[in-house]
Symmetry: C2
Subunit: 239 residues, 2 copies
C-alpha cells in the first residue's frame, strides 16, 4: 500500500527542481530497471506489480491501480524504480566526445545518449541549457544507456576553449562529412533543434561539417538533430 507521502515524493521527481533537491530520479519499465540494477546506479526503491527477486527490503509490491497513480506514462509498464542521481565522473578528454549546445527535446537527448553508447562514445558534454538527462522522458528514450555514458553539464564555451582536441560542429553550410578527413579524436558539437549552434560556440569550432541533401530543392530544410548525430557518429567510426 502506497502512502500519500510516497506518492507525493515520486510524482514530484517529474520536475527537475525536485530531482536536484532530493537527488533521485525515476525509471520505468522492467527492462530498463533491470539494466540499471546491474549498473553502478544505486537503487532507492522499486515499486512493482511482480517481484524482481531482489533484496526484499528494496522492493515494494503494488497493484496496477497504485502503479497508475505514480507512473508518468499513459500505459505504465509493470514497475517503477527510484534511483539515486550519481555524481558524474570527470570528463575523459580523449577519443571522440559529443557536446550538445542547448538540446531541448527529451526524446532527442535520450536518443543521442543511446547513440553514444552504441558508438562507444564514453563522454557526453551538455551545455547548461540542455534538457536534464534525468528527465523521465530522456531516461525512457535511453533504453538503459544512461548507465553507460558519462554525462556532464558544463559551460560549453569554457569546455571547448580548454580542450586540446579538434572541435567539429554540425552546420548547414559545413564541408560534406563524406569527404571530410575525420579523426579518431575530437569533439562533435550538435546545436539546438531550432537555432543550431550558438554564435559563441560557433566561434570556437575549427571544423564545420554537414550532411549533404539528396532530395529536390523543396526538400526538408534540416534533419532532426538525433538522426544527424547518428550519421556523424557513424562517419567518425567507419573512417
Amino acid at each position: 500500500m502506497l502512502s500519500k507521502n510516497q506518492i507525493k515524493f515520486i510524482t514530484c521527481l517529474k520536475q527537475k527542481k525536485y530531482r536536484m533537491q532530493h537527488g533521485f530520479f525515476v525509471v520505468e519499465g522492467v527492462k530498463t530497471i533491470q539494466e540499471l540494477l546491474q549498473s553502478k546506479f544505486v537503487l532507492h526503491a522499486l515499486y512493482t506489480t511482480e517481484s524482481f527477486n531482489i533484496d526484499a527490503k528494496d522492493e515494494i509490491l503494488i497493484s496496477e491501480t497504485e502503479l497508475k497513480r505514480i507512473s508518468f506514462l499513459t500505459t505504465p509498464n509493470k514497475a517503477l524504480a527510484v534511483f539515486r542521481i550519481p555524481e558524474p565522473k570527470s570528463i575523459n578528454r580523449k577519443g571522440l566526445i559529443v557536446a550538445l549546445d542547448a538540446i531541448r527535446d527529451p526524446g532527442n537527448l535520450g536518443t543521442i545518449i543511446r547513440l553514444c553508447d552504441w558508438f562507444g562514445v564514453t563522454d557526453l558534454v551538455c551545455s547548461k541549457a540542455t534538457v536534464d538527462c534525468f528527465n523521465p522522458k530522456v531516461i525512457q528514450a535511453t533504453m538503459g544507456s544512461i548507465a553507460r555514458v558519462n554525462i556532464n553539464y558544463v559551460d560549453l564555451v569554457d569546455f571547448l576553449n580548454e580542450v586540446t582536441l579538434p572541435v567539429f560542429g554540425a552546420f548547414m553550410d559545413g564541408e560534406t562529412v563524406y569527404t571530410k578527413k575525420l579523426l579518431k579524436e575530437g569533439v562533435l558539437v550538435m546545436g539546438n533543434e531550432a537555432n543550431g549552434v550558438s554564435k559563441e560556440v560557433e566561434a570556437i569550432i575549427t571544423e564545420k561539417i554537414s550532411i549533404p541533401r539528396f532530395g529536390n530543392l523543396q526538400a526538408t530544410e534540416s534533419l532532426n538533430v538525433a538522426t544527424a548525430t547518428a550519421i556523424f557518429l557513424s562517419e567518425f567510426r567507419r573512417s
Copy 2:
C-alpha cells in the same frame, strides 16, 4: 467563434477511424501549415489566431482559448489546419524505396518520412500494421515532409514478392553496411521497434545488413529504428 460541431469534428480527427471516415487530417503550427499550403494538399479549413493572408473563406480567426480547445498539443502553436487526405500515387518501383514492417511509434514514422525527403527517397511503403501517417504526432515529426514523400499502405509480403529490385533488410546479424556493396536501386526494409523484421518478410529479403556496434559488450542492444534508418540511407547515398 467555434461551434460545438466544429470542435467535435476537429477533435475526432485525432483517431484514425474518424480520419478514414471523413477523409481529413489535422496539421498544427504555422511553419508546417505554410509548407502544406504550398503543396499539392487541399486545405479544408484553417483556424488561426493571426491571419495567414490567404483566401478569407478558408481562414477562421479564433482566440487562443479556442485554439486550446481544438489543439492536440500541450502548447498550441498559433494555428491548426484541416487538410484533405490525398489519394496516394501508385508506387514508383525504381530507385531507392524504404519499406516499413509494423513501425508503431508515430515519432519514428515522422522522422523516417523526413529522412526520406532529405535523402531523395520518393516512395515509402508501409505494412498495414504500421502507424497511420496522418496521425497528428506523425505529421508533427515530419516537419512538412509529409507533402513530398509518396506513402502507400500495402500488404508488404505481396509488394516485396512483386518488386523486381533487390531487397535489403536491417538485421542485428546482417553484413556490415560499411563494407557491403550497396546499389543505387533497391528496397530497404526496416522492422518493428520491439521485434524487428517479421518472419514472413524476412523470408523475402535477399540482402541482410547491419550497423556495427563500437561500444563495449554491455552496450545498448539496438539502435532506435529512425536513427538506424538515417545511417542506412546515408550509406546508400554516399556510396
